[in-house]
Amino acid sequence: MAWRIVVGLKDGVTDARGERVRREIGHHLGIELQNVRTLDVYTVDALLSEEEVEAAALGPFSDPVIQEVAINRPLAHDFDILIEVGFRPGVTDNVGRTAREAIQYLTGRKFQGGEGVYTSTQYLLTGGVDKEAAEKIAAGFLANGLIQRWNILSADELDPAMGVPVTVPKVTSDVQPVVQAMDLNVADEQLLKLSRDGMLALNLEEMKTLQAYAADPEVRQARAAVGLGADLTDVELEALAQTWSEHCKHKIFSARIEYTDETGKQETINSLFKTYIVGATRDIRAKLGEKDFCLSVFKDNAGVIRFNDDWSLVFKVETHNSPSALDPYGGALTGIVGVNRDPFGTGLGARLIFNTDVFCFASPFYDKPLPPRLLHPRRIFEGVVEGVEHGGNKSGVPTVNGSIVFDERFAGKPLVYCGTAAIMPARIGERLCHEKKAQVGDHIIMTGGRIGKDGIHGATFSSEELHEGSPVTAVQIGDPITQRRMFDFLTIARDRGLYSSITDNGAGGLSSSVGEMGEDTGGFELHLDRAPLKYPGLQPWEILISEAQERMTLAVPPHNLEAFMALAAEMDVEATDLGVFNDSGYFHCLYEGKTVCYLSMEFIHEGVPQMVIPARWEPKQLSEPELAQPADYNATLKGLLGRLDICSKESVVRRYDHEVQAGTVIKPLVGVANDGPSDAAVFRPLFDSFEGVVVSHGICPSYSDIDTYHMMACAIDEGLRNYVAVGGDVEHVAGLDNFCWCDPVKSEKTPDGEYKAAQLVRANKALYDYCTALGVPLISGKDSMKNDYQIGDTKISIPPTVLFSVIGKIEDVRQAVSMDVKRPGDLVYLLGVTRDELGGSEYYASQGQLGKNVPKVDAGYALDLYKALNRAQREGLIASCHDLSDGGLAVALAEKAFAGGFGIRAELGKVKTDGALREDKILFSESQSRLLVTVRPEKRAGFEALFAGRDAALIGEVTEAPVVEILGTQGQKLVSADINQLKEAWQAPLREL
């Protein structure tokens, strides 16, 4: 029998969680409840004595000061409806895992196989709620049906003696492991069906390639020698599907693209990735020569650049869009702990120093009917924010930089970008830390968590649009603590030199991690039955491709095996020997001694046929809107400050620990009241040096609706502009590109594929052009190419979006500059030129217009300006610096002023413009490469000398009076607004979220 321990707050203690749930139910569902209280339930399915259960209940499970407990009886009273929400069988239950460990410490006995602790939550609702409404509350807010189940009882249905009926969500299975042979010698239609039904996400040409491989007589002979028949096994098919998935193989970025531009000129591009991304970095490194600071690019889990003689910097940004659409909390949590493993598993391993996160959502205030299977954007917002909060905070990694971008089309798929930087010693003993190689004879060791059905088909799932049959097993829930323990252990193992190579188990699971590491030696032998499982009943193919989290794969030399395993045992981290790396040339998996997968390494890694994608660029016929000038500039400015893309994200930023590790020197919130919007973060990673890391990003999908070439250019400039604003050195900086696209392959489902593919080509061309011109090498990146939603006739494609992340160095963090104005009398300079470039701007969007004149970037001009700014910062000439982006000059002036707590008086007549511009265009243009700086009067001469011959217009000064006053070109008052009112307009929209 399972024990049931219910824990609740004593009468009179505030239930903050219950109150929050009550408020959110009101927001989400419009159901106003009187009261919500919560109880925690532990269902303990283990052989324990009554005394032991009582000791657990009164010890680790409850807090005697504020809580009371009940064992095998209900605690609920005075409610109308009770909803109990628990996990479905097999879903990661972190609290249950900790509860189990606590009981083990208490009793001194380990749990037996099949024993476990399962957690659930009871919500006690009062105030005019019936069962129908309760069902709506459970399904629409409290629970996610994909991973959770619920039980609803009215007060009179609750058995006063027994309480809620006990459910033990144990995975039970009497499934015997079987390996199925898959006959590929079938008609094309059958091949496609096989791919579809099996969630393989392989196209016909790929399936036919497999068919031909299986039919090859030499292959057949080799297979016969290891006891395999002519048909491929399900293990083999799944291994191939994972390895060849868009997610893992980046088939679109590797494709041959037949591109036709607007003049009809044709061009063949053999791999966007090699041509533009790798190509840019190659050319920049050649130009940098001895000053090249790149150490490891594109070949590892993350990119590595030099920090100083003794230390190197590691950075990676990932997306976790598809899982976040289905389960925002689990998807985002997995996103952050997943990307943590990338830098951790780069080279021989690195120490994580900070996270970044950028989200793209539809408005949380979305009030139209939603197509099936889509969660409301507010639930996505809440879940993603909370997932990243738990993942980042619990891992002890500060979240220092990020943003949230809104567009209605992100209702189809939200974008969740998670980045992590790390620092590694330049050398470990004699070895360069950023290099690694598995050796023949090394053991294949898997450490960390166990394998379950979670995350099966994650790689293939994210290579498709979100559809009716999207699998629930693709959802995973991260476990930051298991990962933390593993990292603690592996860091010691690294420093003791116990392994040759390390990589993480992400998409594709062991198939991918062992498969890729095996390329070092040219083969391996992997025993799937030796892998530790969360519960029985997994098929061999599931063990191979499960994406269960918190696992790393290592290559451990035989002579270190004993020491490695002993350290793991002492630190309470599971490590299992699954086989050996060899030079057989084969991807060889066995189950209970029998071969179940035998594929040539060459075929699995090189055999995928290159796609051919047509692309045709036809610029849209767009025009500039004819708008009247605003009648009330104060109102227009306040309206812009309150737009979702511009307004304060403080309610989210505060939920992320941005200071753990005591290295955050420029924080996300700055200024006199610690609430101004920082442009970028500065982080000091070493206690014995003032050298710092600077991180920032650029993202501007709204420009994609005009031209993705300029969208890309603007994202790069924005990233670099934010970086340089705080003092980042433009001569020691690298970039990472994360492409999130809608399906660009022309098909029945995607009739406009040629246009979308051309958009992709143009973004890549800009990436090459601007990175090379600015001298910013790309060191890593990722693409997510199927961000569409399609059910029935409804198709939602996201706007093409690239997150351009920037990481680099500041020689001395004490020279960093924040964005807030510092003191009255300081002079306000606008760097750069303002043009008639409002296409895709916030100002136009606020009036329902797109426009045509998208901002364009002059890379040479920008670089010269940024270098001058760097010099001024090093010489201490700059009091504050803020970049101009969404909302242009007016928004930047307002933000600078209210962040600093002083007013600004500025004259539009002094702004350097390209030709005569109307006042609203000067104020709201989003021309690139512009920054606002303030300079103390005594530094004026030095500053102006440095900027002589450059565009640095003295447009005003900081005032004691707390008013932003902007004079028009004729000297008339356009804007005159109290900074507190401006700040309120900027803070109000997302304050309560």
Partner: protein
């Protein structure tokens, strides 16, 4: 024992701040500031007895899955030390009886409170009488807070200080006592060493966000009657240098040393004067 101030920071199972705590100890003058994984203590290779100043760092012990630091407290109480008859908690008890110093920050404070190490009224070190629970706002928050120091407190760490400005970063920081009597005893004995206050450190406050979590009597940290055991929710190790201050780019007269360092300097001074 040689004439060295020896600090230890326990790490593992979800601690996050061990590096900066050790750094603070070193900057404050401790000759030794070892970060020791709890596995090493449980293996019996490292003993608490060899140190003077024990630091319980911030983090999320076991993910705070059973409530902040609950599972961590359970482990310290029940995990046996290899090769001996004792539990880690026995070493800890001896450490306290030897007149040594313990400071718990954030999750470390939660751990001390939930083990009963604080406030330990009447010297009872195993009975929990106060707690730290979910912030009034129901959410994790990172923000800086002004702390008014009780000048009459026996607390070793806050001696001579009037006020300190430090960041809080927690979801469960609301201080609650089990009874009005406990709360009164804490106040009467001046064990409530630091309280959330206004920016001028004039008076404790219940106003959000100055009091970020709704703590009873605005209590941010407490000590035991000896003043040698101290815990607080704000992070002193996060403000040991000028550039940690959120407004260092605009406040020109900030001293090079951060205010949090003062607490560690007091600890090191105490060890030097009393334990070496």
């Amino acid at each position: 024992m040689s004439k060295q101030v020896k600090a230890i920071v326990i790490a593992g199972n979800g601690t996050n701040c061990e590096r900066e705590v050790a750094n603070a100890c070193r900057l404050a003058g401790a000759e030794v500031a070892d970060i020791v994984h709890v596995a090493e203590l449980l293996a019996g290779r490292v003993r608490l007895d060899d140190y003077h100043f024990l630091n319980l760092a911030g983090g999320f012990l076991d993910g705070d899955d059973l409530g902040s630091a609950k599972a961590g407290a359970n482990r310290l109480l029940h995990a046996p030390v290899k090769g001996s008859q004792e539990h880690l908690s026995d070493q800890l008890q001896r450490f306290v009886e030897d007149g040594k110093l313990v400071m718990g920050v954030c999750n470390g404070f939660q751990l001390m409170v939930k083990m009963g190490l604080l406030p330990a009224l009447g010297g009872e070190h195993r009975k929990q009488s106060t707690t730290l629970t979910f912030n009034e706002g129901g959410r994790f928050e990172d923000r800086w807070a002004y702390l008014k120091v009780d000048p009459q407190s026996p607390c070793i760490f806050t001696k001579g200080l009037e006020g300190v400005y430090l960041p809080i970063r927690h979801g469960e920081g609301k201080f609650v006592a089990d009874s009005a009597a406990t709360l009164k005893a804490l106040e009467d004995k001046h064990l409530t060493a630091v309280k959330y206050s206004d920016a001028a450190y004039q008076a404790p406050t219940m106003d959000y966000p100055l009091n970020p979590n709704g703590s009873q009597n605005a209590i941010a940290g407490i000590c035991d009657e000896s003043g040698r055991l101290f815990g607080l929710m704000p992070h002193p190790e996060a403000y040991v240098h000028r550039t940690h201050h959120p407004r260092w780019t605009r406040e020109d007269d900030l001293p090079e040393e951060g205010m949090g360092l003062w607490l560690y300097q007091n600890a090191v001074r105490f060890v030097r004067e009393n334990l070496l």
